[in-house]
């Protein structure tokens, strides 16, 4: 897999348009998904996704081919989202960032549950939220998250465990958990 990544990157550096397209296609859903969950705003997420790809191609030479590409890409995404949030904090907030666009809302009965999970996630610390989204939504293993955030695996596990407990407690506080739903593992 890493060899494939290295070949793709080499072709991108040579200016192969098809390779650039392939790289964007390969990572666009992961990058955009992470941006949407971290920024809670679809349009901002789209802008940041474009910026992320611009930065990826600018610094592609600095990628260490001995390491996997995906954590490196996700690391850039997290850093860009953090910068964007700090810049947004300085500007007046004109939009309600809590709500996604109508098109992305699930239309069945689980809509409320999904929304409550998002509300609970938004209340988490930045690190906890990032790790939670990367693990549960982008399906990255602990090692890749550790690589992307440049933290030890132990720290990532601790953050994720705390994030889960906090989310569960918030769901319970908001009356989403009832004893009827209890299932034995």
């Amino acid at each position: 897999m890493w060899a494939e990544d290295a070949i793709l990157v080499k072709r991108c550096l040579k200016g192969d348009e098809f390779a650039v397209q392939s790289l964007v296609e390969r990572f666009q859903s992961d990058v955009f998904g992470l941006c949407v969950r971290l920024l809670h705003h679809r349009q901002d997420a789209e802008d940041v996704t474009q910026e992320v790809f611009l930065r990826i191609f600018r610094s592609l030479r600095r990628w260490d081919s001995a390491r996997p590409l995906k954590p490196w890409v996700m690391g850039i995404t997290v850093n860009r989202c953090r910068t964007w949030i700090s810049q947004r904090a300085k500007k007046p907030e004109l939009v309600d960032y809590l709500h996604e666009t109508v098109a992305n809302r699930p239309e069945d009965d689980s809509a409320e549950l999904v929304r409550e999970i998002q509300v609970a996630l938004k209340g988490l610390r930045w690190e906890y939220r990032t790790v939670f989204v990367m693990y549960h939504e982008r399906n990255l293993p602990y090692e890749d998250i550790a690589e992307a955030l440049e933290k030890p695996v132990g720290t990532i596990k601790t953050w994720l465990h705390r994030a889960r407990l906090e989310v569960l407690e918030k769901l319970r506080d908001r009356g989403m958990i009832s004893e009827v739903e209890h299932e034995l593992p």
Partner: protein, 225 residues
């Protein structure tokens, strides 16, 4: 089983690991309401995350991004090229200014004596002896003995500094201290030297101002990328 062990099982469940049902675990859930709620919530959370729709990008996103990447690459390449040209021009102008300043330095009033081929050997020795016997008059610069004028530059600077010191000491009118005689040649040399240095400094500063204005430092705000 206590609450901590129960929470460890909860984390394993959320990690996706298969946890075998145990009597101890069931017994703990039977008596601990908090753990019971957490386990029920974990199942709910997994269901909710599974049902969550993955956000979709516009169809033309890849095309737009690719075009943007290539546009950015072209722009950056042009910027680097023009920066190279400006740097080369700046370096050339600095060299020209330094050479000009060097050419403006005061020259020695007495030409350096040379041993003429046609002169008799004894005459040449006589001239050398005469030179040694009579000390050089003060204020007149010593001619450069090395063939290269650039190699003689430090010597000239030393002498110019000595002359400048004479000027400064002469200008300082200490009470009760006898003033040193002012050498007009030294004063003139000092003036020319300072004029030259001022011109070079001014032009260099202008050039650097232009360079800094046209090519600001890149944004280093980003941590990793």
């Amino acid at each position: 089983m206590n609450c901590l062990e129960c929470q460890e099982l909860l984390q394993q469940k959320l990690d996706g690991a298969a946890t075998a049902p145990s009597l101890e675990f069931d017994a703990h859930l039977g008596i601990c309401m908090k753990c019971r709620e957490l386990h029920a919530g974990a199942q709910l959370l997994l269901d909710g995350l599974r049902k969550q729709a993955s956000p979709k990008l516009p169809v033309d996103f890849v095309k737009r991004t690719t075009a943007m990447v290539f546009g950015d690459r072209r722009e950056r390449r042009q910027k680097v090229r023009s920066r190279l040209y400006i740097t080369a021009a700046l370096a050339a102008s600095v060299i020209v200014m330094v050479l000009f300043a060097y050419a403006m330095l005061p020259r020695s009033p007495v030409p350096a004596p040379k041993n003429n081929d046609g002169l008799a050997k004894q005459d040449a020795i006589k001239i050398e002896d005469k030179k040694k016997a009579t000390p050089e008059p003060k204020g007149i610069e010593k001619p450069p003995e090395r063939p290269s004028a650039i190699a003689a530059l430090p010597t000239r600077w030393v002498e110019a500094t000595r002359d400048h010191a004479n000027v400064v000491l002469a200008a300082a009118n200490f009470d009760g201290v006898e003033r040193l005689p002012i050498d007009p040649t030294a004063t003139e040399a000092a003036k020319e030297m300072s004029d030259g240095v001022r011109t070079v400094t001014l032009n260099t500063r202008k050039a650097f101002d232009f360079f800094a204005r046209e090519f600001p430092m890149p944004d280093l705000g980003e941590r990793r990328d």
